[in-house]
């Protein structure tokens, strides 16, 4: 494949600035015609296939592997085990900051979770490698698996998520609870969930001396290069990662994992390119997941339905050998005005693979539970759930008192409620039926997501023909980054997006930061914007210093870039095209570069969040407990919208994930062995089209002068938050049954319904 990918987009039309326009994806045609080359589509000359053999026990030791049998299988070239695994230059037990995890790379014969790689078989064909792995017939010394509350090991943890504090206290929680007229208290459970990106984790590794080229889906190119370089003892510049397309990542492709490191190691050891692609089942272990949580909420309210205390305690599962935990309680920090808030976490060590960031890590599981608890508290206060949330609206960030850089949540509530038709909702459950006798319920939840910003760099080259090349090593996971980033660059360059070629997805380009935390458009976008501005400034210098230019001497007054021309700011009529300026200067191009990061002072002074409100309607069969989500309306305010089509898709995707979380997703673990019993897409359910009703995502206009110079917040994850709770609350409203675990199952809704008059039968 070519090492650089260009995205032509001849069909785009421009109306003023292209930013804000609903352009279609630049890579759309390549993808729907099957011409997009994903990592595992690469087949370099002489390539071998690697397959991991994985443990079937959760805890213990591998006592024997029949390496001879595997090696004797025709086509098998080598078997890597702890006995012959070549050394790494960085200790795999030592985490590489900032986001490094401890990786499982055959450092010893210990087994710590099911599906842990215990050997790597490399062969001439995939079939041979697969059968070779099967022939290893591992023998184990088995220790009892710790799989739940009963046998997991509790521990205090200083940090949750990626370095977030595990305990944050605002005000005096005990005093707040004591002052309450009512305390609503309940326990909730969220299940382990797996990312299940459509494209499995894969790598094609090719060494050339001490340089390595890795075709792999990757959400964090520069950080990954540095980490791979550390493991292999080479300079970061010697690692080239090509990641032009990702078939989804959801956080799981931002972290280095053991299997890929082993494949790269095998390629070096055997001096041939090696491909490894995990099977679906093998993705349930070494590549992260959303860990299980047990959550307790205590909400104190006064006589007017105002919170006096909000206590969110989370017991979060992690592995026996690393620390990532869902920072779920922190979802309660930025949202509701309560004089006392306590968000705290404990850890629970289980024999599972280490959890990792999965779309809205912490926010998804924390918001799901918080929004149900808020619903319960509203009911206890005899208030409409929306009215209750408005009574607890935070005008400034709770606890810190910082102003929000912008917050349009009130507008989200109002617009969402209006579009949904929320008013007139009966307070009591089981009051609404449709024409067929099905129970109807309405529920809502608030959505919130923080706005991280990652340092990023970019380059913008204006070319003699008046077009531009812009470059940054970003990642398009399907969200449409290539399109939105090109729109931002085009705007800065005063060009039509058709005239802007974007190169991205390859690590040799300027560091585009991380595609994570919903911060990619803001981070890489700002770098591209600044690079564009820099290129225009250099061009302007050429023109204003050139006596032959109509812009000569305009240096102080300034020029504006529009439609491929620089205009004198005070005199529209005096302008010159980019090509003319470059031609006269005898230059083939002018190059602008930029580094962009958040101004720490701005971040210090403001609370930075996107907000939203989600309203859900469900119908429930009164006898059978079968639930269908029939309507979902979300209204979101996330600063400036670069491309409403892509943004709406992100909201839809998040809301659909919310359906999944509320009603379907769960990794079912055998309590005795720790084995995951539904590690495939037939049995690990995520919604199909028929589960998804008409979705409505309203884009609430929001102008944010502080969050970053572009005014862009993030949209990738917020859609899940709010939605899960909205659906669960709607189920309660339909049935009167409060389910405090996810997913909500058929049997949960059978309880106590025998005595309720059925609409069916005669």
């Amino acid at each position: 494949m070519s090492s650089e990918i260009a995205f032509p987009s001849p069909q785009h039309r421009r109306h003023g600035s292209s930013a804000g326009q609903p352009l279609t994806r630049r890579d759309g045609v390549l993808k729907v015609t099957g011409r997009a080359t994903y990592a595992a589509d690469n087949h370099p000359e002489g390539m071998l296939y690697a397959v991991t053999a994985v443990s079937s026990i959760a805890r213990g030791r591998v006592t024997a592997l029949d390496v001879e049998a595997a090696k004797a299988h025709p086509g098998v070239v080598e078997v890597l085990t702890p006995a012959n695994r070549p050394p790494l230059s960085h200790d795999p037990d030592d985490k590489i900051p900032p986001f490094g995890f401890r990786v499982e790379v055959l450092q010893d014969d210990t087994v710590r979770y099911v599906n842990q790689p215990i050997a790597l078989v490399i062969a001439e064909t995939l079939e041979a490698a697969t059968e070779g792995a099967a022939l290893l017939n591992p023998q184990y010394e088995v220790e009892s698996a710790r799989t739940g509350l009963e046998n997991g090991e509790r521990f205090d943890t200083p940090a949750v998520g990626v370095g977030a504090p595990s305990r944050t206290a605002y005000g005096d929680i005990d005093a707040g609870l004591a002052a309450a007229v009512r305390v609503t208290e309940a326990d909730y459970v969220t299940p382990p969930q797996y990312h299940n990106a459509m494209e499995p984790h894969a790598v094609v590794a090719q060494w050339d001396g001490d340089r390595v080229t890795l075709d792999m889906p990757n959400q964090a190119l520069a950080l990954s290069c540095a980490a791979y370089a550390a493991y292999f003892g080479i300079p970061a510049g010697n690692v080239l990662i090509r990641s032009p397309f990702l078939g989804g990542g959801f956080g799981s492709k931002a972290i280095l994992n053991g299997p890929q490191i082993l494949a790269i190691l095998a390629a070096r050891m055997l001096d041939r390119p090696v491909k490894l692609a995990l099977t679906r089942a093998q993705m349930y272990g070494p590549v992260g997941h959303r860990g299980q949580t047990w959550q307790k909420l205590r909400l104190g309210t006064d006589g007017e339905g105002r919170l006096t205390a909000l206590h969110h305690h989370v017991l979060a599962a992690t592995s026996s050998f690393d620390e990532f935990m869902e920072p779920a309680a922190n979802a309660s920090l930025p949202l509701y005005a309560s004089p006392a808030i306590l968000a705290e976490h404990d850890g629970l060590r289980l024999d599972t693979g280490t959890p990792g960031p999965m779309r809205a890590p912490g926010e998804a599981s924390g918001s799901a539970v918080l929004e149900v608890a808020m619903d319960e508290a509203a009911i206890a206060c005899g208030m409409d759930p929306l009215e209750f949330r408005l009574a607890n609206y935070a005008e400034t960030e709770p606890g810190t008192g910082k102003p929000f850089s912008s917050k349009s949540l009130r507008e989200c509530y109002a617009e969402g409620a209006k579009r949904f038709g929320w008013s007139g909702r009966p307070l009591e459950p089981r009051r609404m039926r449709d024409e067929n006798g099905f129970l109807v319920g309405w529920g809502m939840g608030t959505a919130v997501f923080h706005c991280p910003h990652f340092p990023a760099e970019a380059r913008a080259t204006l070319r003699a023909d008046g077009t531009a090349l812009v470059e940054t090593a970003g990642a398009d996971m399907g969200q449409g980054a290539w399109t939105a980033l090109a729109q931002i660059a085009a705007e800065a360059l005063g060009l039509d997006p058709d005239q802007v070629e974007l190169h991205s997805g390859i690590s040799s380009l300027p560091d585009g930061g991380i595609a994570g935390g919903s911060g990619h458009t803001a981070s890489a976008g700002l770098a591209l914007h600044n690079a564009g501005v820099d290129a225009i400034a250099r061009l302007a210098e050429l023109a204003t210093a050139d006596p032959a230019s109509p812009l000569f001497g305009a240096g102080n007054i300034g020029v504006e870039a529009r439609s491929g021309r620089l205009h004198r700011r005070d005199d529209e009529g005096r302008s010159e095209s980019y090509s003319e300026i470059l031609a006269r200067a005898g230059q083939a191009e002018v190059v602008g570069t930029a580094k962009a990061a958040r101004d720490p002072a701005v971040a210090e002074a403001h609370a930075l969040f996107s907000h939203g409100a989600v309203f859900a309607e469900v119908k429930v069969d009164p006898d059978l407990g079968q639930v269908r989500v029939t309507r979902l309306v979300g209204a979101f305010a996330a600063g400036r919208i670069i491309n409403p089509r892509l943004v709406r898709s992100q909201y839809f995707g998040g809301m659909i994930w919310g359906i999944s979380f509320a009603l379907q997703e769960e990794a079912v673990t055998d309590r005795r062995t720790g084995r995951i019993m539904n590690a495939d897409l037939a049995e690990y359910h995520v919604p199909v089209n028929a589960d998804v009703p008409s979705l409505d995502a309203i884009l609430i206009p929001e102008d944010d002068p502080y969050v970053n110079p572009l005014g862009v917040k993030g949209v990738g994850e917020i859609g899940i938050t709010g939605t899960v709770g909205a659906i669960a609350n709607a189920v309660w409203h339909a049935t009167g049954v409060r389910v405090r675990h996810f997913p909500i199952r058929l049997e949960d809704l059978l309880v106590n319904q025998r005595d309720v008059t059925s609409a069916f039968g005669n």
Binding site: F438, Q626, V668, V688, A690
Partner: protein, 352 residues
């Protein structure tokens, strides 16, 4: 995947001869067999592809009004055959509620009948499973058994048969035509799948090497065409196996039930025909009370095999529902969500 011989016979006798070798497996569309081979739960030494056998892909109407369906007829082709769907609507509805459009387009009649259990431990080589490896034990007992059987199970195996198609077939007295090393014979669909007893590995009544060549529905089964429904509960709206399901078919005259047929899916190692419940209804007025009694009787023997008592309650309710919907009448057109308790809803105006 282990190495195996691959044979593509061109005639039924040739196929049967090839299958005489122990360790052979017939391969139809492979949507079940190949999955099992990939995980290693099935390791045949000889795979006999039957998809090129001539003459087995036809739907033939018999002079008496019955139908004979060749084993290679695709699930979709059968469900969308106009005359078939009109005559045996409950079968078409069950077919369209199964799997996904892509799978139904590939899956064959015989393959659907002979598909193996979805018991997770059967698929998981690290687990003990009497059905996969006789005598090894049953890890589903005491394991994650929420979806396992509530009828006809034994302590040797608590698995269910997953087919939707088979449920109305059992209700309608379908017959399976088989050819084998010792000639042809017929097996009532209701006796094709065996309850586990002490030998769960003996899953069906087929003898080694026997090949299903056709499925027959008797003419009498068409008498239910006006009052027959299949209802399936599942955890997503499509592309999911039944938690429990029921087929109900009635012949009603002036409010009196002349004939009734009831079968349940997802509750046992076979599609579960509820003959006593049928008998109870015959001659009775079609009332909610009568349906509830029938459901009670259908599940009288049910007992949880683990964490699944709720399935008994659900099965009870779904029998009642299937009967009352059958009484309401077979829908004029195939519902947009076949077998769903929900009527057509906005946003779902096609079969999914």
């Amino acid at each position: 995947m282990n190495r195996f011989d691959y044979i593509r016979p061109v005639s039924v006798p040739e196929a049967i001869a090839a299958a005489a070798v122990p360790g052979s497996a017939y391969l139809a569309a492979g949507t079940n067999l190949l999955d099992l081979m990939k995980v290693g739960a099935s390791r045949p030494e000889r795979v006999i592809n039957i998809t090129r056998l001539p003459g087995l892909d036809r739907i033939e109407w018999l002079p008496d009004g019955g139908v004979r369906v060749g084993t290679l007829v695709r699930n979709s082709d059968l469900a969308y055959d106009e005359r078939f769907a009109k005559t045996f609507p409950v079968v078409a509805e069950a077919l369209l509620s199964g799997a996904s459009a892509q799978l139904r387009n590939a899956a064959t009649v015989g393959g659907n009948l002979m598909q193996r259990t979805r018991c997770a431990y059967f698929h998981d080589l690290a687990g003990a499973c009497n059905r996969r490896e006789p005598g090894s034990g049953c890890d589903a007992l005491g394991g994650e058994n929420r979806l396992q059987a509530v009828l006809g199970w034994s302590e040797h195996c608590i698995a269910t048969h997953p087919s939707d198609f088979c449920v109305p077939l059992a209700a309608l007295d379908a017959i399976v035509e088989v050819e084998g090393p010792h000639g042809g014979r017929e097996i009532a669909l209701d006796t094709l799948h065996r309850l586990p007893g002490a030998t769960p590995e003996q899953e069906t009544a087929l003898l080694p090497g026997e090949l299903i060549v056709a499925l027959r529905l008797p003419a009498e089964a068409s008498s239910f065409s006006r009052n027959a429904r299949y209802i399936k509960l599942r955890e997503r709206t499509s592309y999911a196996f039944a938690v429990v399901s029921a087929a109900a078919a009635l012949e009603v005259e002036g409010g009196t039930i002349r004939k009734a047929r009831i079968a349940l899916g997802g509750v046992a190692a076979k599609p579960w025909r509820a003959r006593e419940a049928e008998a109870l209804l015959e001659g009775k007025q079609a009332t909610a009370q009568a349906f509830a009694e029938a459901a009670e009787l259908a599940l009288a023997e049910a007992r949880p095999s683990g964490d699944n008592a709720f399935k008994i309650e659900l099965a009870h309710r779904i029998v009642t529902r299937a009967l009352s919907l059958a009484l309401e009448g077979t829908p004029q057109a195939m519902p947009a969500l076949p077998a769903s308790p929900f009527p057509a809803l906005s946003g779902a105006n096609h079969v999914i």
